[in-house]
Symmetry: C2
Subunit: 202 residues, 2 copies
């Protein structure tokens, strides 16, 4: 059985949990409390030397880190990853956009405010996250104004990846009121078969 | 013919230039001087709404952004991308590692010091980049101590991606003297057929 090393409030871990639920793949979940340093123990570092969650352990004991690499691995040969070469590359474009231009601003702000509860201590750093975070949301809004989903107008792992932190962006102080296309897209994602909420304990 | 929108000193653009050279694919290169705002013009934003280089234009006029998505696209079906599903996922793991844990520290430091020439103005910000930058190099060093290349002991786009900014890390103030496995790997990459230097104007 697959094993997922995961921290429940993490959007990066939720990506894998959501796809596994939608693929109806059973797996064992092992909670790693990053707030207690559990992702930096020698034992965990033997699974991922970069000391980050999530990590997927395959049935023959191989370890795979990086949330979007896990999405890629699990989605191969399924409806969640396109067949056509250029569409596949566009999925990758959105996944790298997510990790470089979106997550470091929107997810990190949520982490400081809503996970650590240290909005005051991080006030200045949070301020620096706002402009690039809103820029990432604007790129999404522009695309979603004319498209149902991020790639090929079909629900793929690109949507799962971007959904994870966008739908809780307000927990990081980002207001989605002026992003109507994003809001409509969030609802389309939430209407997908076998959808689970980030707060669901599975 | 493929078209690459590229800025010569950029390591992200060099990734695509290196793979195109090694695949012996002819292409038209269009220089975009990001220092003069040329990646933020309305015309360029119509190609990549995120306003970043590189961008690949396909023969039928489609646009693909994100350096590692371009590597993925160009390498499909070639020796530079593995066949085996888990090896493919490990390539992806390194590509996301590169964009999240390596590039924002090592490439950004090089940009401030060697491209903008503003080491003094960015002194404090550069200081904050050092620890995570060295942590990324340590993850690579640990792996390369026991492996010839990053995945499956074969040269893949994972090596191209990580090579781009690692081999010029010293231009960002990172000293590679205590990373002998990285140094040996850099030489193995440079010995690959059809290798071109980042400074080569093609």
């Amino acid at each position: 059985m697959l094993r997922l090393y995961s921290f429940l409030p993490s959007g990066n871990c939720y990506k894998a949990r959501l796809l596994l639920a939608q693929l109806a793949i059973p797996y064992e979940r092992i909670e790693v409390n990053i707030l207690k340093g559990e992702s930096r123990t020698p034992e965990f570092l033997s699974k991922n030397p970069n000391g980050r969650i999530p990590v997927l352990e395959t049935e023959n004991g191989q370890f795979l880190a990086e949330s979007n690499a896990i999405l890629f691995y699990l989605s191969q040969g399924t409806e969640f990853f396109p067949q056509e070469p250029f569409a596949r590359a566009k999925v990758m474009e959105w996944l790298f956009f997510e990790q470089y231009s979106h997550e470091p601003y929107i997810a990190t702000s949520r982490y400081w405010i809503s996970i650590l509860g240290k909005e005051n201590a991080y006030r200045e750093a949070l301020q620096q996250k706002r402009e690039p975070g809103y820029a990432a949301l604007s790129v999404m809004e522009q695309h979603l104004t004319n498209h149902q989903f991020l790639v090929s107008d079909r629900y793929t792992i690109a949507d799962i990846s971007l959904f994870a932190y966008t739908h809780v962006a307000e927990e990081g102080g980002f207001n989605l009121a002026s992003f109507p296309a994003i809001q409509a897209w969030l609802q389309r994602v939430q209407a997908q078969p076998r959808y689970i909420s980030i707060r669901e304990n599975r």
